[in-house]
Symmetry: C2
Subunit: 336 residues, 2 copies
DNA sequence: AAATCTTGCTTCATCGATTGAGCAAATGCG
DNA sequence: CGCATTTGCTCAATCGATGAAGCAAGATTT
């Protein structure tokens, strides 16, 4: 890799030499506490000018080595390429910056090994705090970080060892299910039990959404068999092939479907396309996730939007109050 | 901010003490060149074991301070919350990691000031290289980095001072326009001139796409007035209000539209919704961008997918060959 | 047996910024 | 004028990891 530096970087010692002063004075001026260190205004201005002329950039590595807190805040995220996590990451960066943190983000593509590796890398970079978003094994991350004295917060998926901020999956799923059922009633004249597609049976969110899904059926006194639930994972391909199999299996099939994320929705729609004569107009879909373009194009697709701004606001609140008790904050999602 | 470290971190000195050896030996063992430094296998194993027991994590700040290359590779990106940039960032991270780099990514929300600030922060973190993706002023970034001896590469939008990797916007736009025109022919029986919505008149991609747009009209001998072009920026709100105005302005309006990104498409579709009786079925849309859900749901929406894997492959090729000549690589986009 | 080589470590300076301690000159006070 | 205080700065240790240089003990050669 030919990435050799072109020239040596300017340091505070170079600046000190040019200004005819000491590195210590330069440091004090450039990091803003020259008043506290009783540097004269003249010298401060001179140093600032020379630093600018020389295009000086602080060596963060050296600086952080001396300081106790890095103000780096790490976030581990399963995917970028998705409107939900994309908006989490984008807003997280903005808010972190506003609050004086330096955000360090890593995408783990739902790979548990990468999650741990990423956490380890963050510890090496001396992060002050790690946010584990949608982590497969958040407690593992918490343990690892705790060993280095670093606090963690879980986002989107909860853990037992650190505070967790998640959507109110039960209430959201119950209401979403209700809406799909109503839509079935309107469009097909009857309320059949729905199918539940996507997610992992073991993950907390899927379990809670299933509970809401079941509750909504119970609310309408609709009997729901367990075999209507297809928790085949989130990936589009898995949903697609699961539906393919299902359709040819002889098991009962529903026109109404609860889809567990836009990622999964992609697979469901692809299946609809391939399924031939039937268009998505023939289905009543609901998705526990939000995508503005789907909201505009999918006429029969109900959506639940997780309240990302509220979740992140709550997260920074916890950080600011130093509240790291392992309890769960449930944020109500938004239905359009 | 209550993010105080819980306990002191384990250092190589602690490990040295525990192992009854020197910090230097510990360092040699843990960074893998103990053979070169002639440390015995026994001691190496002992140190490794103790390091593991203690949950030791390298202090990257200290390590980087000593090394000449950081192997950190920075990327500046305008948005995360978008399928195109989302996939760029996700694939960039994966590829960078595979090639032994540590990816550091910052989102600037198309704010030129933030772009510069982000570049400066990256220099502070001693990045070996900066990728400016879709930057408003890539040359400014290149100049800033060059002053610190750091190379840059432009992605998505070209600059004059560093190598640039962009889509073949002209060819892509020409073909996309052709397809929209053909679709108009099929669906409405005639080929009217299309409208061009979104993008900034000054940006290279928009200019090239406009050139392709015009060429395709010329190919079909369709006269195109300049007032069919609405380069109102990328933001959905801007496109929406621009179309609103346009519709009531008395200027000619087309059923066929070339939309400059999925971000802009959001505004166009929102306008279609509000425009009342007319549904998007009444339009022939084409979008210079790709979103899998739009591809599935938007029956009348042609899409051009920029070839992100090819662009990034080319980018890492440049890095590996140390090729930092300021020339432009055009990557053909993919039409479905 | 002396000379040389090899093995397996340790010592110490270094990277660049930070900060407590210290010191000389200027100023204030009685 | 003499002493205390304030002002404006410098010195030097330090953060943790790295690696060149050095050194002692054992192995090998002549």
């Amino acid at each position: 890799m030919k990435l050799d530096r072109q020239q040596k970087r300017t340091t505070i010692y170079d600046l000190a030499e040019l200004a005819g002063t000491s590195a210590s004075a330069v440091s004090a001026v450039l990091n803003g506490n020259w008043k506290k260190r009783r540097i004269s205004k003249q010298l401060a201005e001179k140093i600032t000018r020379i630093a600018e002329e020389q295009g000086y950039a602080l060596n963060m590595q050296a600086s952080l080595l001396r300081r106790e807190k890095s103000h780096i805040i790490g976030m581990i995220v399963p995917k970028y390429d998705n409107r939900y996590f994309g908006s989490i990451v984008e807003l997280f960066e903005t808010m972190a910056r506003d609050k004086g943190f330096f955000p360090l983000i890593t995408c783990t593509r739902r790979d548990p090994a990468l999650e741990i590796e990423a956490a380890r890398a963050m510890l090496s970079y001396q992060v002050d705090c790690v946010i584990a978003t949608g982590a497969t094994d958040p407690d593992r991350v918490t343990e690892l970080c705790a060993a280095a004295g670093v606090r963690t917060i879980n986002l989107d998926l909860p853990g037992k060892l650190a505070p967790s901020i998640i959507s109110d999956n039960f209430a959201g799923a119950r209401e979403l299910t209700r809406r799909i059922l109503v839509s079935c009633q309107h469009r097909f004249g009857s309320m059949e039990p729905l199918m539940f597609v996507g997610g992992r049976g073991g993950d907390h969110n899927t379990m809670e959404r299933l509970r809401g899904f079941r509750q909504a059926h119970a609310d309408h006194e609709i009997h729901l068999d367990d075999d209507r639930v297809i928790a085949c994972g989130y990936a589009p391909e898995k949903a697609q092939s699961a539906l393919m199999e299902r359709a040819t299996s002889g098991l009962p099939f529903s026109k109404g479907m609860f889809v567990n994320s836009t990622i999964t929705l992609e697979g469901v729609l692809r299946w609809v396309r391939l399924a031939g004569p039937v268009s998505e107009q023939e289905f009543a879909l609901g998705c526990f996730d939000y995508d503005p373009l789907v909201a505009l194009l999918g006429d029969n697709i109900e959506m639940v939007r997780q309240d990302v701004p509220a979740m992140l606001a709550r997260m920074f609140e916890l950080i600011e109050h130093g509240n790291f008790e392992p309890n769960v904050s449930e944020i109500p999602p938004v239905l359009r």
